[in-house]
């Protein structure tokens, strides 16, 4: 019971974090058709900027200013790089963002060193919010979840209930018509790219203070974010929320379970035979937990490439 509740709670909060990063990626893809490899780098930049700013000023300045800096970088990339190679097709845009991943990672290593930095949350956020089965549950985990929830609500209201959101959706669905009606579509693209980068930066600034902040964080998260976006459906915000929660909860459960394919076989009385096979069949779920998301991504891509919630493409 304890395992069940704590794992669910941790999983949901990790899922919310994944959602914060993937929201921007899926928005950008839905609108511009660009699969931005460098998106997780924005997450890393957010964490490092917030680390520097919290050292210079305080934690809250870092939390607010770091996403803005990341947004500026994102907009610069859209305006002066992606727009330049746009004429050469989507493959080139993909490759360009792919190259940027290396540059960001190496620049971070250059400035901060190839080791984790000590980015800490302030002491007054360091308390237990409630007590679960004798263990204190840190408030900061809940804080991460709350920030993500707030962001989802703001984003949802902005996109569906305001005039800005209407223009953005119009530019996504029918860019030529939106342009003909007098809207500055390239400007909208620029704004969406900046906003997406800022969201990733914000999640980095929030999560970096809890999880380790190191130069590998972009690479580690990057592939998982791709999984989330694909499973949820490229371009679908609601889909990526569901997929994030799904993968978050799964990852947090998988590390604590030692089920394997062999235990599945033993349910029907073939346990001994399966154990004698060894190899893949007897591997516990906890050790292949990193593999399952990719399997899920593969199955979704092959069976339903539009993802859980994506419209038919």
């Amino acid at each position: 019971m304890e395992f069940l509740i704590v794992s669910t709670l941790n999983g949901v909060i990790y899922g919310m974090l994944l959602f914060m990063v993937s929201a921007g990626l899926t928005l950008i893809f839905g609108m511009m058709g660009v699969l931005n490899f460098a998106h997780a780098s924005f997450y890393m930049l957010g964490a490092y900027f917030a680390y520097t700013l919290s050292g210079l000023f305080n934690f809250w300045v870092g939390l607010i200013v770091a996403p803005l800096l990341v947004a500026i970088i994102g907009m610069f990339i859209e305006r002066y790089m992606l727009r330049r190679v746009h004429a050469h097709g989507h493959a080139h845009e993909l490759l360009l963002t792919f190259g940027l991943v290396f540059i960001f990672e190496e620049l971070i290593k250059l400035f901060y060193g190839d080791f984790p930095v000590n980015y800490q949350r302030p002491d007054y956020l360091n308390f237990a919010i409630f007590n679960l089965f004798g263990t204190d549950y840190p408030f900061y985990r809940v804080f991460i979840g709350l920030v993500a929830l707030l962001m989802f609500i703001v984003l949802f209201v902005l996109l569906t209930r305001t005039r800005v959101g209407m223009v953005v959706r119009a530019a996504e669905r029918l860019p030529d018509t939106a342009r003909a009606l007098g809207h500055n579509v390239p400007m909208v693209f620029l704004g969406v790219f900046g906003a997406g980068a800022a969201l990733a930066g914000l999640s980095g600034a929030v999560a970096g203070a809890f999880f380790p902040t190191n130069p590998n964080m972009a690479l580690e998260l990057g592939v998982i974010v791709f999984v989330v976006v694909v499973v949820g459906g490229l371009g679908s915000l609601a889909g990526s929320l569901i997929a994030s929660l799904l993968i978050g909860v799964f990852s947090s459960f998988a590390v604590g379970l030692d089920w394997s394919l062999a235990s599945l076989f033993s349910l029907i009385g073939l346990g001994d035979w399966a154990n004698s096979l060894g190899g893949l069949v007897t591997m516990p779920l906890s050790s292949i937990s990193a593999t399952v998301p990719f399997l899920l991504m593969l199955i979704v891509l092959l069976v339903r490439p539009a993802g859980l919630m994506g419209s038919k493409n």
Binding site: V85, A87, H88, H90, A91, L95, I103, V223, L301, P305
Partner: protein, 429 residues
């Protein structure tokens, strides 16, 4: 064409004659460059000719490597006799099978979705391998020894080099021959207009699977050669870095030309060998080169060279000479400034330097470009600015001039109308 043949033969002669005169370090670097060249050429069969962008080619490279390591272990323990010289055949066979299987699924999708399937497949292997001891030897990986065969002991790096060279030359030759066959033309057509291929009665999916499998097979040969050279392999051969590096090599060299990726792989691997001995930031330089190529020369180094060769009779070389020289000079200035800034940062922001400052309480001068620099001296800060700003300005001027000379040439040159649509077609990919 005749010049190209002479150039290739001369290069081959150089590759045969030179290595005994070089040290083991360079021999080893050349082995890696050759393997990278073959890997890039195999990758480009899929990407450049087949039009399918894969982000997980490390999978087939790694499968080849592990196959050979397993076989080498069996030979070492005397279970099966198998000549060391022919080991890559085994890697090729297994990679071909894996490629056919993976290709069957991956080619059901196209574009970004295809890229994501290949990425997922490679990540699947990469996340599974460290936990699967029997197959991939866990995190430590597997190792073995090269056994003597056909009178060679394969004890020295030089013998391994010649083995690698022979395999790479044969495989690249086969890959080139492939482009000349009707099936090779069909591969190109598949990239340019898949729908039309279907209308003409070809099986597009089947063709794609074959192209994928052949590309995987030659990648497997490259992986095998890597395993033979290193005598070891671990799960990191499946990593994103390996898949990424071959993408970098291919597109810096230029994916629209057969020899582009080979040039790119050789240049970048040797660049890495030279630069990584001097600085930790070699990956940064490689990333910058890649992004610059993507921005300013989308067809890669090979594309630029090819454009010059095609236009060699029409270009006003005499009038171009001055702007080209200026561009080279300005480019050097900008590169110099960049390297200076990066190297200075690398030294001044390092842990050792910070520790020295904390110990002695003063900022000691550091050495870049064989000269001592004071951290807070104005000239240290002014130096890169003085190079960068005029350098960028001159670069813009020079390229504007080059652009007008090239364009003017196109206007005069009405005879070569056929070149225009070809340019357009290639620009679309």
């Amino acid at each position: 064409m005749r010049y190209a043949l002479i150039a290739i033969l001369a290069l081959l002669a150089l590759l045969i004659i030179a290595p005994p005169l070089l040290g083991t370090g360079w021999q080893y670097a050349l082995i890696n460059a050759l393997i990278a060249a073959l890997f890039a050429a195999a990758f480009n069969l899929l990407v450049g000719q087949g039009g399918m962008l894969s982000f997980g080619h490390a999978a087939y490279f790694g499968v080849g490597a592990f196959t050979v390591i397993h076989l080498m272990q069996s030979v070492e323990y005397g279970d099966i006799p198998f000549p060391t010289v022919l080991l890559p055949l085994a890697g090729a066979a297994v990679s071909l099978l894996c490629g056919a299987l993976a290709g069957f699924f991956a080619t059901m999708r196209s574009g970004v979705y295809f890229a994501l399937v290949t990425l997922a497949l490679a990540e699947l292997l990469h996340s599974l391998a460290p936990h699967w001891d029997e197959m991939f030897g866990g995190e430590a990986g597997l190792s073995s020894m090269r056994m003597p065969s056909l009178g060679f002991t394969f004890g020295s790096t030089l013998e391994v080099y010649y083995l690698t060279l022979s395999w790479v030359v044969i495989c690249i030759g086969l890959l080139y021959a492939y482009t000349r066959t009707p099936f090779g033309r069909l591969t190109l057509a598949l990239r340019d207009n898949e729908q039309r291929i279907r209308f003409m009665g070809f099986n597009a999916h089947g063709t794609k699977i074959v192209v994928f499998a052949i590309s995987a097979m030659f990648s497997g040969v490259a992986g095998s050669l890597m395993a033979i050279s290193n005598e070891t392999a671990n799960y990191s051969v499946f990593s994103t870095q390996v898949s990424a590096l071959v993408v970098l090599h291919t597109f810096v060299g230029g994916s629209t030309i057969f020899f582009g990726p080979i040039v790119g792989a050789c240049v970048l691997s040797l660049f890495t060998f030279v630069v990584s001995g001097v600085t930790h930031s070699w990956m940064l330089y490689q990333g910058i080169i890649f992004v610059l190529v993507m921005l300013f020369a989308p067809k890669g180094i090979g594309g630029v060279i090819q454009a010059h060769i095609e236009q060699r009779h029409a270009l006003p070389w005499k009038r171009l000479a001055a702007p080209y020289a200026l561009a080279t000079l300005a480019g050097l200035m900008v590169a110099c400034a960049t390297v200076f800034v990066v190297q200075s940062l690398e030294i001044v922001l390092s842990r050792e330097y910070a520790a020295a400052v904390a110990r002695t309480g003063e900022y000691a001068p550091y050495t870049v470009f064989a000269r001592e620099w004071q951290v807070f001296h104005p000239f240290t800060w002014l130096f890169p600015v003085l190079l960068l700003v005029p350098g960028l300005y001159l670069l813009r001027r020079a390229f504007a001039r080059i652009q007008t000379l090239w364009d003017k040439d196109d206007d005069d040159d009405n005879g070569d109308i056929a070149a225009a649509p070809r340019e357009l077609m290639e620009g679309g990919h």
